[in-house]
């Protein structure tokens, strides 16, 4: 029998015919008929809390990196579609219902290194082959919230602390550094409003 292309997302499962040698994490909660292509999506999944990923029903996750750090939570609402994206999370990333995330998108709730030069220098040693990642300096994180019916275009980037209002459109390649009001379209680096529907 042919190996299925997409598998039902369920905690702790080993997927049939998976090219990546891994199991789905135990601490995930998935609604009905939510599907994933491979356990490779969880290669950088480091959540240790009771739930690191919570999805609604009918969600599609295609070769997407789901990367919550130890105490982080990623939430994805019903019918959202996420393909070839990177969700790297220190705190919380919330994605609403019917959100479409195109290929190459990066959503991050932290810059993952400190900005201050002395602290940043310390971090370079901590992450080096002879450092210790468990002793990294404190790094700022602010949750990202993406409301229902948002469309995010190819290679767009959503940075920390951003809230994207319902129905907004993020143009391909945009770098979103500030809140986007509901129904608006933004484009560019940094993203600027190109169309307002409010």
């Amino acid at each position: 029998m042919e190996t299925p292309l997409l598998h039902i997302l369920a905690p702790g499962m080993r997927l049939e015919g998976d090219w990546y040698d891994g199991a789905l994490p135990e601490n995930i909660v998935a609604g009905e008929n939510t599907r994933v292509d491979s356990s490779a999506c969880f290669r950088y999944y480091r959540a240790k809390g009771p739930v690191g990923l919570r999805t609604g029903a009918n969600v599609t996750l295609w070769r997407t990196s789901i990367a919550p750090e130890e105490s982080a939570l990623i939430e994805i609402g019903d019918h959202s579609w996420i393909a070839n994206a990177s969700l790297a999370c220190r705190l919380r990333i919330s994605i609403g219902k019917r959100v479409f995330v195109a290929g190459g998108v990066t959503i991050i709730d932290s810059d993952f290194h400190p900005l201050t030069p002395a602290t940043r220098l310390l971090d370079t040693v901590a992450v080096s082959p002879v450092g210790d990642r468990s002793h990294r300096p404190a790094i700022d994180a602010r949750p990202v919230e993406i409301e229902d019916d948002v469309w995010i275009g190819y290679n767009a980037t959503i940075l920390k602390g951003v809230r994207i209002g319902a129905g907004a459109v993020i143009a391909p390649g945009a770098v979103v550094t500030a809140d986007v009001p509901a129904g608006c379209t933004v484009s560019g680096n940094p993203a600027r409003m190109v169309e307002s529907r409010v």
């Binding site: 990066t106 201050t116 310390l122 040693v125 002793h135 680096n189």
Partner: protein
């Protein structure tokens, strides 16, 4: 503390590391694939300082006369460095995924003849060493510089000590020390406080049981 690249014994890429490279102690090389486009004939063609690393799908590409220097504790995380002349990177730098440093000017010369000649010469070479279409200009990046993902730094640029370059930013002009530059086209956001002197560096190394005062390339 000495750390070894033992996983290179199980490297998926079939070629050995080049002979003409100088690696300091505790240097991480993800795979010899990092050197797939390393054609330097200089000795050394690459120097990497103590505790630095080329992670993920990083690429260290050089032409015959190209040289790359990477300082101590600098992290290249799926970053491409492409040198036909010289790229010098200081110590304690962070390079994110998709970042590119090239000593070519980009967009390459408007001289279509030179561009065509470069491609034709490249095609006549069985291993397709890419011929430069412009005169390479050395790139110098100071210590403790942070380069965001998918950013591009082009030929002739100097990036000052402590500077931060945002994600998806194209750098074609010098960046002053401690400047934060972001966006495309790139703009200067503000300056950071210079608090990372020799004392801060020694303290950071001591914190992880490492000896301060190691030779730093910059």
């Amino acid at each position: 503390m000495i750390w070894r690249n033992d996983h290179l014994k199980h490297d998926w890429f079939h070629r050995p590391l080049p002979e003409n490279i100088e690696l300091g102690q505790n240097v991480y090389i993800e795979s010899s694939y990092v050197f797939a486009a390393f054609f330097s004939e200089l000795h050394p063609g690459l120097v990497m300082g103590e505790g630095s690393g080329a992670y993920g799908l990083s690429s260290l590409g050089t032409g015959a006369g190209g040289r790359i220097q990477v300082g101590a504790y600098t992290c290249l995380n799926s970053t491409s460095l492409i040198a036909d002349a010289i790229i010098t990177i200081g110590a304690h730098c962070l390079f994110a995924w998709g970042a590119v440093v090239t000593d070519q000017r980009i967009p390459v010369s408007a001289d279509a003849v030179a561009r065509r000649r470069a491609l034709l010469e490249t095609a006549s070479d069985p291993v397709r060493r890419l011929r430069p279409a412009t005169e390479p200009k050395p790139v110098h990046i100071g210590d403790n510089v942070w380069v965001g993902f998918d950013s591009v730094i082009t030929g002739g640029v100097n990036v000052g000590h402590g500077a931060v370059i945002g994600c998806k930013t194209m750098i074609t002009e010098d960046v002053p020390p401690y400047a934060i530059v972001v966006g495309n086209p790139c703009r200067l956001l503000r300056y950071l406080q210079a608090d990372d002197g020799e004392e801060a560096r020694s303290a950071a190394l001591r914190e992880f049981g490492l000896a301060p005062g190691l030779p730093v390339i910059s």
